[in-house]
Symmetry: C2
Subunit: 248 residues, 2 copies
DNA sequence: AAGTGGTCTAGACCACGGC
DNA sequence: CCGTGGTCTAGACCACTTT
């Protein structure tokens, strides 16, 4: 416990406050001690405490009122999965309280189609590793996804095919290739299931699906993953936390 | 210019830096002066400068690398509309470069349906003001929306019906009722246009639509607006910037 | 080893809300 | 008026990256 966990201080304080609130030390509706006292009680500076409080306020766990005090929210919102976070389909399924598995996996290398090459900043003759699979929530098919990785990223890496079976490609990118996904840009569209797709998902043709097309980037704005996913609507919840417009 | 614009300092610095970058003082790819120098040059503390830099990094305008420096991003992402921001449909249309108008407006007060009452924390017998309308982008219908406002909010306010015609209810809430929408929680679902809806939007029945259901809250977590919107998919773009998972 | 961004502190002053 | 949260500062020390 010597080093590490640096900037964690504010996060630690945040966690400690969460506990103090959930255990009823600070019950819903009550007012917290003022910032000075609270900072001293927790053994951190007021600045650090404030960062923790700000985080809790954004979570909706507390309410802050200038000149009045900081209060524990009586009606906290709880979002299991907010879509502005880059979760995998597996996470989405688990957030709904189901068990996530996959089937019908196809892994192959092939030349990038033109629209894929464009999104990944590749040349048309470049190859991509394509991973197709069906996601199931408790045995029920709920999504079909196609992921494309530039083959050149894999050229010098050592990995096994089984590494690709895990439902988090982000983890694979980070652990095997040293590439951390910083953010993704996704586009949403409703779609009707064509027969080939309906068959994969055990649906009838014409069922409405939520189609998502996404490119993931590293911190350096390098595109590393192109994904297409077809989601069965009534099986997965798509919830978005939308901040009001304006300057932070 | 005496008072006001308090916490604006970091925002002001941010804006000044944007200008320094866009005018080519700090061209794309170049490294900015270190934080100490930059802070002194701009006449603010390093803390304040860092807050500004952090904002610019989140915007994607600059890249920060520990132990290396801060760089102007060569390939800045520019999202006209990111869905994690609480824009109105009118904004969405204008972001696509079209002219936004509305038609078929219906405004009436009626008892809240049970699912509406639940979402707005109202009692079943409470009344809501309902605003229905069709949005057009350059004459073409692209969305149908139903907004519900608790009637009690309007009881003591003075306003005219025409205030409700503007395409930003958020602006109405802020200016007439003193209620600022802090965030909304939205749920997305694909849907097939039923005949009544298809007729309103000049579509054929069974066309896939993107359905959005949203509750807007004030900073104090008070629900003030419930909205349902049916979007024509190929007319509007739904783009989401998804940050990588993890603690803030 | 030198230079950079990352974290944390203590303290000052300001603006808002209620008494 | 007082107490609260909101903003800003100067400075210390740490950790990462390159030379």
């Amino acid at each position: 416990m010597a080093l590490k966990a640096r900037r964690a201080l504010a996060s630690q304080v945040r966690q400690r406050l969460r506990i103090l609130i959930s255990t009823g030390i600070y019950p819903p509706g009550s007012r917290l001690p003022n910032e000075g006292e609270l900072a001293e009680a927790l053994g951190v500076s007021r600045t650090t405490l404030r960062e923790a409080l700000q985080g809790l306020a954004e979570e909706g766990l507390i309410l802050r009122r200038h000149g009045h005090g900081t209060f524990v929210n009586q009606y906290p919102q709880q979002l299991t999965t907010s879509f502005d976070r880059n979760f995998s389909i597996g996470d989405l399924i688990r957030a709904g309280g189901h068990r996530s598995t996959t089937r019908d996996i196809v892994i192959q290398t092939r030349p990038a189609q033109s629209y894929v090459a464009t999104r990944l900043s590749l040349l048309p003759e470049d190859e991509v590793l394509v991973i197709e699979r069906v996601f199931l929530a408790d045995q029920r098919p709920v999504a079909f996804s196609v992921d494309c990785l530039p083959a050149i990223l894999l050229a010098e890496a050592n990995y096994e095919l089984t590494d690709l079976y895990g439902d988090s490609l982000h983890a694979f990118l980070a652990q095997r290739l040293g590439l951390t996904v910083h953010h993704g840009i996704a586009q949403l569209r409703p779609l009707l299931a064509e027969s080939w797709l309906a068959q994969k998902l055990d649906l009838s043709s014409g069922t409405p699906l939520l189609y998502l097309e996404q490119v993931d980037y590293t911190l350096e704005q390098r595109p590393v993953l192109f994904s297409q996913a077809y989601h069965v609507a009534d099986a997965l919840e798509f919830i978005v936390y939308r901040r009001g417009p304006g300057e932070r």
